[in-house]
């Protein structure tokens, strides 16, 4: 296989792994938020704010890795 083919393959596999990790983390986050909101509805807005902040931070790290994948895929 040529170098370009391996690079594209790596980019695709990397994107799949990234989405696995990110969605697992953010899914746990959403589950914890919903549980907390169900137990104590008064704090639901604060919990929701903290959830959005944490989700944005996790997505920030996801996009680091995604940029690396894009660099692999675009380099030709």
């Amino acid at each position: 296989m040529g170098i370009n083919a391996i690079a594209h393959l790596a980019a695709g596999l990397g994107a799949g792994l990234i989405i696995l990790g990110a969605s697992y983390g953010i899914g746990k986050l959403a589950a914890a938020t919903m549980e907390a909101s169900g137990r104590q509805p008064e704090v639901a807005p604060q919990v929701r704010t903290a959830m959005i902040i944490s989700a944005a931070l996790i997505e920030g790290v996801t996009f680091f890795a995604l940029v690396i994948c894009m660099l692999l895929a675009i380099k030709s």
């Binding site: 704010t49 902040i53 931070l57 997505e59 996009f63 940029v67």
Partner: protein
């Protein structure tokens, strides 16, 4: 709600028309991903419905070894456009307050956002001393918001989709974080925090690590904003590019529907990313300010 859907549908149709006009200008038959990326990248032409505007080329400036190319590009034009719009909006909003204390319409929206930033973002994170830094944080929020939203308008370009623009914003954030920490703690305490509170024998190791740690936070801000904005546009363009990849009209309804959905998501992401950038800058500034409180409590 229906107006938003119509507006978004029109913007999707416009971007499809753009791609058709590019594809019909005699390019190769095969679908080229690089060609799609040209819509997200910087360029020297501004596209308007029906014609191009070629931006002027200023001869490069030589500063010794450095060659700086000062000619304006599309993203530079949109940076300036958003800055002018921001100044106009801010002046109009503040003028409206001379007539009445209860605002209506556009000024009401601006007041809602300003009060939201002040009461939910700055004061909880930075305490009462944060009021000094509200102008900078408000400017950051509204500037990024305008740049993100103008990118979703037909024929608009997202300036924050350029890593140099977000790097500039993150650099300013870096300086503001250090300045707020120094102003709250004093220069000596700030430098002491850089050592991390270990024995002086370990300083030679701790100080480079701490200095590196200073840079990771704005770097993450930069990459987060850049990747969120450009990834959204690439997804929209790819979905519409499916039509050209499969060369059939049957893909069009599915493709446009998905692109519509992603466009609505992009609206949400545009506002959210502006908020996240501002809030994280406020949080990082708040770390410096709170460290000042800790050291004061330790001394008393």
């Amino acid at each position: 709600m229906r107006d938003t859907l119509q507006h978004v549908a029109v913007s999707v149709a416009e971007s499809a028309k753009q791609m058709i006009s590019h594809g019909a200008s005699g390019h190769d038959e095969k679908f080229n991903f690089q060609h799609l990326l040209d819509h997200v990248k910087d360029s020297r032409t501004i596209e308007l419905p029906g014609f191009h505007i070629e931006l002027p080329q200023i001869p490069p400036v030589h500063l010794g070894d450095f060659v700086i190319d000062l000619s304006p590009t599309k993203h530079v034009f949109f940076l300036l456009l958003c800055a002018i719009l921001l100044v106009i909006a801010a002046i109009a909003a503040s003028r409206a307050y001379r007539k009445t204390f209860v605002p209506h319409g556009f000024v009401n929206l601006v007041e809602m956002l300003v009060v939201f930033i002040r009461d939910e973002v700055v004061i909880p994170n930075m305490g009462p001393e944060g009021i000094k830094y509200i102008p900078y944080l408000l400017t950051t929020f509204f500037y990024i918001l305008f740049m993100n939203l103008i990118g979703l308008v037909p024929y608009g370009a997202t300036a924050t989709g350029n890593i140099m623009v977000t790097a500039g914003l993150a650099t300013v954030a870096f300086f503001m974080i250090q300045i707020s920490a120094i102003q709250a703690q004093g220069l000596k305490n700030y430098l002491m925090h850089l050592t991390g509170g270990v024995h002086w024998g370990l300083w030679i190791i701790m100080i480079p690590i701490e200095i590196l740690g200073l840079f990771t936070k704005p770097f993450a801000l930069c990459i987060r904003l850049f990747a969120n904005m450009s990834a959204g546009h690439i997804v929209i363009l790819s979905l519409i590019g499916f039509i050209f990849m499969f060369q059939s009209i049957a893909v069009a309804p599915v493709s446009v529907l998905f692109a519509l959905f992603i466009n609505m998501l992009e609206l949400f992401v545009a506002v959210l990313q502006a908020y996240i950038f501002t809030m994280l800058t406020a949080v990082f500034m708040g770390f410096g300010v709170q460290a000042a409180h800790e050291s004061h409590e330790g001394n008393h």
